[in-house]
């Protein structure tokens, strides 16, 4: 795992001191509220519906057991005893007091963490494949490059006041578990003639105008990455619209100017800027990469694991849902579901954080990950240790065996927390999860991605859910629009609206009609919802939703 260099350490301490001074200057009037706003945002501090919210960076979703314990401490000391893991692989605390935030930032710096650029019109946390470094199917671990981007983009003088926020995602595999097509810049490690380079996509994003990224470079040498990113982002900084925040993301810049014109401007700037980079960044990358070397994997035999599988049906079910193949045969990747039925997706209590940290220390080489699907992952666990891990998760209420199922939903905080929300989203998720469990159809339905956003900004990724639910406000009444056919993976797609929306208490019955239609129409249980949808199109599902006689256009 990455350990801070002296440079990183000195930087986060200096930055913490700067932020402490900024808070004082806000309180003494040196900074107006308008001036303080972007400064607090670029340090992770939002003003929400009821209170401040602090979003802490978990770079590329990787953290150590010690860091997880510190998050638990922060949750108890300065918040209400829990935290919320987000689709950006970060964690949010919903109840900090402004005067406490500088102390929280110091406590983060104590464990090599920060909240820098988790908000604001800046380059945000670079996200990646939650299984990076453990998956069997990757070309290379993308995290060293993500760390290189983190360092380069941190406090980058030119890019702290961009037209709008800027999100970069990188994946090391064709399977794309990082949704790179829905990011401002998406990077995919690719191999050509024995050399590893990057496919670069630009202009993806969700929000009110969802678009999938387009390829701007098929193969970019790794050594060209930082100057190329500078060329793209400085071009965007000048060309991006500043007259309308809803048209300020790079996807609109690319769309309005056309990919060819945008690319020409980027390449011109790249040619100018490339020679000014000395290549020392590649030396730094080598030092970074060495720190991501895999742990020394144990050689334990798998007999006890196989014995437990054959005798314990609860364990067997959990393994079937929550375990992913590891690149090392006698190891496994464990996904700890934060989607217990009826609970807020992505929330974990301080006690649960400590349980997960202890498990990571005892069985997981000290490492944890946060997935964009709002779960926690132990990336390296010997199969021999899985029965013990499962037993301890059961005791902590963390053994929900639902990864990939209906109740494993992405869900934004919605009206319960967020100042932008137009409708509740958490209670919708809770109702869906408990309903389908209670009627016993969740397992029968199988793999399904439902994603819920409580407003048009789409933090809950509803556009790329197999079933997307978008909560809107219609003349003071919550109304939920349903989209079908979205996908986040290599076959990324934006879902289509089915038709008129549904009232709050009509959402669960509406989803049930769609899913009963799926169960009736699928060729076999092996045909998932999204596969059936691709084969059949939207018509039979719309009919199930609205009935034959209703115009669903």
């Amino acid at each position: 795992m990455y350990e801070y260099s002296d440079f990183d350490e000195a930087f986060v301490r200096a930055r913490a001191a700067q932020f402490r001074q900024q808070v004082e200057r806000r309180l003494d009037g040196s900074l107006t509220e308008e001036e303080f706003r972007p400064l607090r945002l670029m340090n992770g501090l939002y003003l929400q519906l009821h209170a401040y919210m602090l979003r802490i960076a978990i770079p590329y979703g990787t953290l150590s057991a010690g860091q997880m314990r510190q998050l638990a401490m922060i949750a108890e000391r300065w918040d209400e005893g829990y935290g919320h893991f987000t689709t950006r692989q970060n964690i949010q605390f919903n109840w900090p007091k402004l005067v406490d935030v500088p102390d929280i930032i110091d406590a983060l710096a104590d464990v090599q963490m920060h909240a820098i650029q988790t908000s604001g019109n800046t380059i945000r946390n670079t996200t990646t494949d939650v299984f990076a470094g453990a998956a069997a199917d990757e070309i290379a671990d993308p995290r060293p490059i993500a760390e290189l981007i983190r360092e380069w983009s941190t406090d980058h003088a030119e890019f702290q006041f961009l037209p709008r926020k800027f999100k970069i995602a990188i994946t090391g595999t064709e399977a794309d578990r990082a949704v790179i097509r829905a990011h401002d810049i998406g990077l995919q490690l690719v191999e050509k003639d024995g050399e590893i380079g990057l496919k670069v996509l630009v202009g993806g994003g969700l929000g009110r105008t969802p678009m999938l990224g387009q390829v701007i470079r098929d193969f970019l040498p790794v050594a060209d990455l930082l100057p190329y990113l500078e060329a793209v982002i400085s071009t965007y900084n000048l060309m991006g619209r500043r007259d309308n925040k809803y048209k300020a993301r790079i996807k609109i810049t690319v769309f309005e100017n056309g990919l060819d014109a945008f690319k020409a401007a980027v390449e011109e700037e790249f040619a100018r800027i490339r020679p000014t980079f000395s290549g020392v960044d590649q030396e730094i990358l080598r030092v970074i990469a060495a720190q991501f070397a895999p742990p020394a994997f144990k050689n334990d035999p798998v007999d006890s694991y196989e014995a437990a599988l054959s005798v314990d049906p609860v364990f067997r079910r959990w393994v079937a849902r929550n375990i992913t193949a590891h690149k090392v045969e006698n190891h496994a990747i464990v996904t700890i579901s934060l989607k217990e039925h009826g609970k807020t997706p992505g929330d974990a209590t301080a006690d649960q954080m400590r349980v997960m940290a202890d498990l990571a220390d005892r069985y997981g080489y000290g490492e944890l990950r946060i997935s964009h699907e709002q779960n926690v992952v132990l990336p390296h666990v010997a199969k021999a240790d899985l029965p013990a891990v499962h037993a301890e998760l059961l005791r902590a209420g963390l053994a929900t065996a639902n990864v990939g199922l209906l109740s494993d939903m992405i869900c934004c905080p919605g009206m319960d927390y967020c100042a932008l929300a137009t409708a509740r989203s958490i209670p919708v998720a809770e109702n869906l999860a408990t309903h389908f469990r209670d009627i016993g159809l969740e397992d029968e339905i199988g793999n399904l991605k439902i994603k819920i956003s409580g407003c048009i900004n789409a933090c809950g990724h509803h556009h790329i859910g197999h079933i997307g639910i978008l909560g809107l406000d219609r003349a003071g009444v919550e109304n939920y629009q349903i989209t079908l056919g979205g996908d986040a993976g290599p076959q990324a797609a934006i879902g289509d609206k089915t038709g008129p929306g549904f009232a709050y208490d009509e959402v669960v019955p509406a989803i049930e009609r769609i899913l009963r239609a799926y169960l009736a129409l699928r060729e076999s249980p092996a045909e998932t919802f999204i596969d059936a949808f691709r084969r059949l199109g939207a018509a039979p599902f719309k009919e199930a939703l609205y009935g034959e006689n209703r115009d669903a256009a």
């Binding site: 440079f7 000195a10 930087f11 200096a14 930055r15 700067q18 001074q21 900024q22 200057r25 009037g29 040196s30 900074l31 107006t32 001036e35 972007p38 400064l39 019109n121 290189l148 360092e151 380069w152 983009s153 941190t154 406090d155 980058h156 003088a157 030119e158 890019f159 702290q160 006041f161 961009l162 930082l226 400085s234 900084n237 000048l238 500043r242 401007a265 700037e269 100018r272 800027i273 000014t276 980079f277 000395s278 290549g279 020392v280 960044d281 730094i284």
Partner: protein, 123 residues
């Protein structure tokens, strides 16, 4: 009136020549030509939250402009390091801003050369 901010603090206007003024919406391909040969270039910031000036300054420096380069507008003390790192020599701020954010708040960021990740990556 306005105040000129440099690493050592506040100064009165001390430039008497002719300066070229550049608005933040200038076309990228006109930038270098417009600035060429000028003793001083003033890049105007319409508001502190509009960061185009930082890219314009950096591009001008990369293109070889070696004259005096000034950021002009309601830039705040917290942006001083960004301005210096982007290639500006100094910042020109309105008097009321200088009164609200006095000299020591700007000198707090006179250490702009320290902790600069991008400079470290570029070499």
């Amino acid at each position: 009136m306005s105040v000129i901010v440099r690493d050592d603090g506040f100064h009165a206007e001390d430039f008497a020549g002719t300066a070229v003024e550049i608005a933040s919406d200038i076309k990228s391909d006109e930038l270098v030509q417009l600035a060429s040969g000028a003793d001083m270039v003033r890049i105007l910031f319409p508001s502190f939250s509009d960061g185009r000036g930082f890219t314009l300054a950096r591009r001008l420096r990369d293109a070889g402009y070696a004259g005096r380069l000034r950021a002009v507008g309601p830039v705040i003390a917290d942006q001083y390091a960004m301005a210096r790192r982007s290639g500006f020599d100094e910042v020109e701020i309105p008097d009321d801003l200088a009164a609200r954010q006095p000299e020591e708040q700007w000198k707090f960021r006179a250490d702009w050369r320290a902790h600069d990740y991008r400079a470290r990556m570029k070499g």
